[in-house]
């Protein structure tokens, strides 16, 4: 039973590897660039799926968490400490002594000294978790449209802050973010030569997160969450600590979003305020809905396909329009996601001969 549960994940890993192999033999490995970016966006979306589909709480502010992660990491790793070191700043010396600083050189031969991305990454995740926790306590007490408004309000605040704060680069965002060396020889960056490696890094993170979520859903926590989704009052009466479960899933999904933000920022070498925008959050929510709300697999598939095609620029100026059409069609005709469309059921019935 235990091993059987892992077969789907094993197959998913095979599919992901198979895709890379497919691009290799068709000599189209440039597709991996967009596939890597897609994997990170999918990470945000499956995290949101946990909150929306399983705990039943809408969040119109998830782009905010993505931005907190990405921006924190970007700011810390682009701030050049070399002048502080030359001046003998004791804190910088302390960091240097602990091996927490990295030397580098920019495009124009200027030497750089910045905080190691590892430290930046950990700080960004802790910060996100803390913010999600603090904001989650009051916000998750709200219901319905009030919850939607509060989460959207949170998203707007983050967007406004990154757009107005000089450290965050205002409208330009932050450029020239260095790569993230996970271990010697393995670096998250956008170099053309590093593409295959980065694809596997992204897929591994996505896969691990996905397995984690699937296990969570099928555990005691998952059952509690579904009870909350069904009826919060009933769950409460049965002794489920609804507030705590809601808060934990909210924080977990925020951390997922931040993680995606951090890695994508290092991969892209920069981040801009549009990543924190409301339309981005709306898009995440819409993709979860298209995927069928409480369907991790559906969400994963729709997230990868839609993001990939959008990042390829396949629809040109009609990108948003196509997205809108897909959204409406699926919501009208297959509100539980395409994986649960009646056609599939008929297909299944046909196969089993009923």
């Amino acid at each position: 039973m235990k091993t059987q549960r892992f077969i789907p994940f094993f197959l998913l890993a095979l599919v992901l590897a198979g895709l890379q192999f497919l691009t290799q033999i068709t000599d189209t490995s440039y597709y991996l660039t967009q596939m890597t970016m897609t994997a990170y966006y999918s990470l945000v979306i499956i995290g949101l799926c946990l909150v929306m589909g399983y705990a039943g709480q809408i969040s119109l502010g998830h782009a905010g968490f993505f931005a907190i992660g990405g921006y924190t990491s970007a700011v810390l790793t682009t701030y050049n400490l070399i002048h502080l070191l030359e001046k003998g700043n004791s804190f910088v010396l302390f960091l240097a002594g602990k091996g927490l600083l990295v030397n580098g050189e920019n495009l124009y031969g200027e030497s750089l000294l910045y905080v190691t991305p590892w430290l930046a990454c950990i700080l960004a995740l802790v910060l996100t978790a803390l913010i999600a926790f603090l904001i989650g306590i009051p916000v998750l007490k709200l219901k319905g449209h009030y919850l939607a408004m509060a989460t959207m309000g949170f998203g707007i605040i983050i967007y406004r802050v990154v757009l107005a704060w000089e450290i965050m680069g205002e409208a330009d965002g932050i450029s020239d973010v260095p790569g993230f060396t996970l271990m010697p020889g393995i670096t998250v960056n956008g170099d053309f030569s590093n593409r295959i490696q980065n694809y596997y890094i992204a897929c591994t993170i996505l896969l691990v997160a996905f397995i984690l979520l699937q296990n969570l859903i099928h555990s005691r926590v998952g059952r509690a969450l579904r009870a909350i989704h069904g009826s919060e009052e009933a769950a409460d009466a049965m002794g489920v600590n609804t507030a705590r479960y809601k808060l934990y899933t909210f924080v977990l999904s925020a951390v997922f979003a931040a993680l995606a933000g951090i890695f994508l920022t290092h991969y892209n070498g920069g981040i801009g305020p549009s990543e924190a925008g409301i339309m981005k959050s709306v898009r995440y929510v819409a993709i979860v809905a298209i995927g069928g709300m409480a369907s991790m697999w559906g969400t994963l598939i729709m997230a990868s396909v839609l993001n990939f095609l959008s990042l390829r620029g396949l629809f040109g100026s009609y990108d948003d329009a196509v997205f809108g059409v897909i959204l409406i069609i699926i919501m009208l005709f297959a509100p539980d996601g395409i994986l649960r469309l009646h056609i599939w059921q008929r297909f299944k019935k046909f196969k089993t001969g009923k």
């Binding site: 809408i58 009051p138 916000v139 007490k141 709200l142 219901k143 319905g144 449209h145 009030y146 939607a148 408004m149 509060a150 959207m152 309000g153 949170f154 707007i156 605040i157 406004r160 802050v161 757009l163 107005a164 409301i278 339309m279 709306v282 929510v285 819409a286 809905a289 709300m293 009609y318 948003d320 329009a321 997205f323 809108g324 059409v325 959204l327 409406i328 919501m331 009208l332 509100p335």
Partner: protein
């Protein structure tokens, strides 16, 4: 702060507030009959503005506005009939996502019809630089138009919902749809009617604010976000409350400028709103019992 500056901030706040309020009222009407928030409400505002601007090139202003309002009303009805009417007991979240999709489609259509340029209606009275002197500060006459139209809409709506049988039927749908059906009310028609009504109000708002804010294919989104915020803050379903909440938000925004840079204005005002919401989870003027009865 001098009294002159105080008054200027106050009037600026009232200007913002009345723009938000007039958009928020449209949200409330559909919410009242269906229990959903129509995220395409901002697009009605944009359509009203754009249509009236196009019509005004060959029609006098009042006629252009009237026709624009009627066309938007028809569009509102069509949206309801095509996308919503035939759904069997759809979940509220599904309706929200559908309206988001509709808003994207209207926006994209507007981009391809009108292009990306910015347009505006002429000022109803005077021009861009004329202003009326009130209590030692200057106010554009258009602001008075916005406030006036907003007030008239609120009064007419409350009369309509209280005293006409149609309005009462719509309210019945809102409080209990099944019971309303049993009383012989055609609830589906009531929903269509509410879409038409809120489209008309949105379009009228779009015409009145257009000289101040300008109209662009995507100008509906920003207004809708503010309108939604205000509608929720006031307590959903209550148009009077929306006006008060709108004015409150506008005045907070205007006065916040005195202390923090304008760039952080939204962050500050929304933070204050969130705090209010945490203290009063059902909006400033909403009742807890009423909110408890509505599903999400």
């Amino acid at each position: 702060m001098t009294s002159e500056l105080f008054l200027q901030y106050l009037f600026a706040g009232i200007t913002y507030g009345s723009i938000y309020a007039i958009v928020a009222i449209g949200f409330n009407i559909i919410y009242n009959t269906t229990g959903i928030i129509n995220f395409a409400q901002g697009e009605f505002v944009m359509l009203g503005g754009m249509l009236s601007i196009s019509l005004h090139t060959f029609l006098p202003l009042p006629l252009a506005i009237a026709i624009a309002v009627i066309i938007t009303m028809i569009i509102g009805a069509l949206i309801e009939i095509i996308f919503i009417r035939w759904l069997e007991s759809p979940s509220v979240l599904r309706m929200i996502i559908i309206t988001i999709g509709i808003s994207i489609l209207i926006r994209e259509a507007a981009l391809h019809v009108w292009g990306e340029g910015v347009r505006s209606l002429p000022y109803f009275n005077g021009n861009e630089i004329s202003s009326i002197r009130i209590l030692s500060t200057n106010v554009s006459p258009q602001v008075l138009w916005v406030i006036g139209v907003c007030a008239v809409i609120v009064v007419l709506l409350s009369l309509f919902f209280k005293f006409t049988s149609l309005g009462q039927e719509m309210r019945a749908c809102s409080s209990n749809r099944l019971a309303a059906t049993l009383c012989g009310i055609n609830t589906k028609n009531m929903v269509t009617l509410s879409f038409m009504l809120s489209a008309a109000i949105g379009a009228l708002a779009g015409c009145v604010v257009s000289p101040i804010t300008y109209t662009q294919y995507d100008s509906g989104t920003g207004l809708a976000i503010k309108g939604f915020t205000v509608a929720v803050l006031g307590g959903l379903g209550n148009s009077m409350a929306a006006v008060s909440a709108g004015l409150l938000l506008g005045i907070i925004e205007a006065f916040s400028i005195d202390i923090v840079p304008l760039a952080f204005q939204d962050a500050i005002s929304i933070s204050i709103l969130l705090i209010i919401l945490f203290v009063r989870p059902h909006g400033l003027f909403g009742s807890k019992e009423a909110a408890g009865l509505k599903e999400f």
